[in-house]
Amino acid sequence: MIEIKNIIKSFGSKEVLKDVSFTFEKGKTNLVIGQSGSGKTVLLKCLLGLHEPESGFIVFDGMGIVGKSNKNLKGLRREIGMVFQGGALFDSMNVEQNVLFPLQMFSKMSKEEMLQRVNFCLKRVNLENVNHLFPSEISGGMKKRVAIARAIVLNPKYLFCDEPNSGLDPYTAILIDNLLQEITHEYGMTTVINTHDMNSVMEIGEKILFIKEGKNVWEGTKSDIITSDNQHLQDFVFSSELFKTIKKIKS
């Protein structure tokens, strides 16, 4: 469980996060939704300790992280898996080496066990026979999936994904969503997913935080979305014809 309270974060004079509070629950897929530029990535980077908020608390299962140095966060970070918006794969390593990397740095497994684990994780994200390709040789969607495999290879307690399925075809996107939900349940992880994809929201939105212009505007679950009368949320969710139609049919 991760609790955040009254997070404020600005860059220069620009206030990006204005008083955001929420609880991300263990064993659930927690979604952060909002328009492009609303501050989702910044929020996630605050959770990771990559940005330091000006005020507020961030507490990982009883351990506060705001104000702690990188050195003091090291222990916690070994329990975190992160999928960056652009994948952030290491260019100088091939797919296998990328996924292997956290194991090499932190696990005590034998070389064979490590490779087995790597192949298992790659298989889970539906990637096979790409082990020896370099990031520049695979598609955007494949990069995302390799990034997910790398993030889960150490069995993290916390999994953060910044738009894990943007740029993926609908079929693979749903596959990734379901995968994330499955492993979250299976390992009891606290998973935080940034997205503006309504399909994901309706698919795996077990707990949802909607932010607009850096403010916490609405929270609930996927079933609350349709019935909510929050105007901001309505504008965001029912911007597409498809969802407008669905709403009409439902009501």
Binding site: K45, L48, N70, R77, M82, A88, L89, P102, Q104, M105
Partner: protein, 246 residues
């Protein structure tokens, strides 16, 4: 950013370089890899440049001495000192600041803007120790070897040019390069080289590491890396020469 603030940031950065690495075995491999990437791949370049500059230095020395009372073996002597004291340690280091410095800054800059450095940080790996330390160690170890090679290359280039042009005989040139040799001068050249290697690796890494923005800024960091390393090399060359040779 103010000069003092930049300097402070740089010192903290350098302190990080000398922190204990995550895994010693990994660090060892990384240094080897950087020696190959940064050092080994500069080998031909350095030898090529040195041969030609050595040749030019010899021809010019010979031209200046033409018709004078000075014995021809002094051509070899002057060539040796010019190459040993300045050309190899300083000029080759400046060229390497361009070649290696821009390589370091742009590769680290790209890693920064594509969030690869953040990814390391999130994994609990100190990105400075992991990425920068091996580069600095590799250059400080390998550049002296490169420079020694350059010295040999320069002298051989001079010898070829001198004998082929008929300015001096092979025996005269070889007498010249052995004439009044002070071993401390070679030590001085190596000390300079090690310092310059540190300057190239640390300043270029610093600029690359703190790149902000996108591809355009990576280019800018890389330019800045080359300019700053070169300026620092030139200035510290002057100071070191004062300190060590006088």
């Amino acid at each position: 950013m103010g000069l003092i603030a930049s300097l402070g940031k740089f010192l903290i950065f350098i302190a990080d370089v000398f922190r204990k690495p995550e895994r010693r075995s990994v660090m060892y491999k990384l240094v080897i890899k950087e020696i190959y990437e940064l050092g080994f791949k500069s080998l031909l370049f350095v030898v090529f440049v040195s041969l030609f500059v050595g040749a030019v230095v010899t021809l010019q020395t010979a031209a200046n001495m033409q018709g004078s009372w000075m014995p021809s073996y002094l051509i070899g002597y002057a060539t040796r000192d010019a190459i040993l004291l300045e050309f190899s340690p300083t000029i080759i280091s400046l060229l390497l600041a361009g070649k290696i410095g821009s390589n370091i800054a742009s590769s680290l800059g790209t890693m920064r803007v594509t969030e690869q450095i953040d990814a390391l940080e999130v994994m609990g790996i100190n990105p400075v120790t992991y990425l920068v330390r091996p580069k600095i160690f590799a250059l400080m170890f390998f550049n002296p070897l490169l420079i020694c090679l350059s010295m040999f290359g320069g002298v051989i280039g001079g010898w070829i040019a001198g004998t082929m042009s008929g300015e001096c005989t092979s025996a005269e040139f070889i007498t010249g390069i052995q004439y009044a040799f002070i071993p401390f001068k070679a030590v001085y050249a190596i000390i300079k080289t090690i310092l310059f290697a540190f300057i190239i690796a640390s300043i270029s890494s610093f600029h690359g590491f703190y790149t902000e923005g996108g591809a355009l800024e990576v280019g800018r960091s890389s330019t800045r890396a080359v300019v700053f390393s070169s300026v620092f090399i030139i200035v510290s060359n002057y100071i070191l020469t004062q300190l060590l040779l006088n």
